[in-house]
Symmetry: C2
């Protein structure tokens, strides 16, 4: 199999960006400020990894991207909210994100907090209102919403953030590093693929295999991120490089070293692709995306 994954990513990003543009009305009237703040972060150069994974998973089970587009957008809204809240002074206190000043630097802390709250809430409105692929039951959408909520909530991303803060600066063992990573980043990445498979009309076996794929890709993604923080430069990353070490963040590179982290990520990607062995050519983008996750430069 061979495909131009970069062209695929470019094409999908355009589709996602267009759909994201259509979510909020022109900033005017009483919602002008909050819409401006939500838009600012939503269009600050995101890679759209979660929406694209979601669309690729839908395609892998025979669906089309339109079957999951609002879900794909909702995932980006959730990711964006998490970045805004993460960057707040009470959390990571970051001034730069994707090469631009963070939300609270532009809009103040109160509006940044509310922009995050607004994005998270809107993501669920988007999902609950989305049209279903012909033949799909509304109960599948309820399942997808629950999957996403669980991955984003205290048993997933929010729980991972709590652990991350709780253990920052302390020496912890590798299994705890893994627990943090799987929750903080892995859960929502995995849910992006799984919910995409559900809404793309996959059968139980397909959904289960894509869930396995998602779990492995999610963890590999965070490891790759932590490696980039060390090896990348601030300009390409669009965020300050080297901050993890300064803050004594608990990362795989810190816990087991860079090279072992790289082979661990490679191993995970291999396993993720293997989980899709029985899938046909429609799953090729999903397989290639796994590779992109660890090869990207930002």
């Amino acid at each position: 199999m061979t495909m131009d994954i970069k062209a695929y990513l470019r094409e999908k990003r355009i589709i996602v960006d267009k759909a994201l543009k259509d979510i909020f009305p022109e900033p005017e009237g009483y919602t002008a400020e909050i819409v401006a703040a939500m838009d600012y972060s939503l269009f600050a150069g995101g890679k759209r990894v979660r929406p694209i994974l979601c669309m690729a998973a839908a395609e892998a089970v025979g669906g089309v991207e339109n079957d999951v587009l609002p879900l794909a957008c909702a995932l980006e809204l959730i990711h964006t909210y998490s970045l805004i809240h993460d960057d707040l002074p009470v959390m990571d206190d970051d001034e730069l994100r994707r090469g631009k000043p963070t939300s609270h630097k532009v809009f103040g802390e109160a509006l940044a907090l509310l922009a995050g709250d607004g994005l998270l809430t809107e993501s669920f409105r988007l999902m609950a209102r989305m049209d279903l692929k012909p033949g799909l039951e509304p109960s599948s959408l309820l399942r997808a919403i629950a999957l996403v909520a669980e991955a984003a909530g205290y048993q997933g991303m929010v729980g991972g953030q709590v652990l991350d803060i709780q253990w920052e600066g302390q020496n912890i063992d590798t299994s705890l590093v893994g627990l943090i990573h799987r929750h903080k980043t892995g859960a929502l990445i995995a849910a992006s693929a799984t919910a995409g498979a559900v809404m793309g009309g996959g059968n139980e076996e397909e959904i289960q295999k894509i869930e396995e794929y998602g779990g492995k890709v999610g963890l590999a993604f965070q490891i790759a991120d932590d490696i980039l923080d060390i090896e990348g430069d601030t300009k390409t990353l669009g965020k300050t490089a080297g901050v993890d070490e300064k803050r004594k963040k608990n990362t795989y590179p810190a816990a087991i070293g860079i090279e072992p982290s790289k082979s661990m990520a490679r191993q995970l990607i291999e396993e993720a692709v293997n989980a899709l062995a029985s899938f046909r050519a429609e799953a090729n983008p999903l397989k290639y995306l796994a590779g992109y996750i660890i090869e990207r430069k930002r």
Copy 2:
């Protein structure tokens, strides 16, 4: 018609509290801290107005409280998250809520922020996973989720918060005061009743009338709150009285005076009850609740 609304409230509060207790596991393992923080605010003496309105609305259309219990709990989670974020130093900077130290005073600002995020997200998981009243379509649940999300989001509660901050300390006209109130508090109160009617199996006419009821009760609730801030005492309120005036908050009492605010609230309640004129005795609790909204002492 005559009924003991206080006994009704007591009874329902016990049911809601029990259901809320069952949402989170015992705080242990990696979620111990975040569950403790979410629980702390969830059981800090809330009146459970939104869940009870939701259950009373379900009963008013011939449903039973069990048809909507997870939805009712979800509404309380959303309300609780909004209080936690509201009390943060970057927002209202409150140290006391319902007579107890606010979340960030107990858990620190980072965990308080995440507890709010966790509660909001969990509310949608609860709804998406709830069982349906026999005969009700899953699409009704999707409708209820969308209603709640819209009421809680940037077009509702979050949008109202933005306005509230934006106009704090400035002289604004009465219509803007109304806009703020309807969004900040009114929208979620209204959605509590409307979503309850949807999940209780109401027909379109019933749902529409309960929506009208909810809109009026929601606005009256906020006016009553602002009057209590002036006339109540800190001990009974469980929060610092008189802060609105000190902060030059935009309230009806500040804009039009206390007595006109009181008659406005009474008028709204009358209209709300009238909207339910065609309902049978099952709607009595909902009607009585409207009166309680403006007669309560805290």
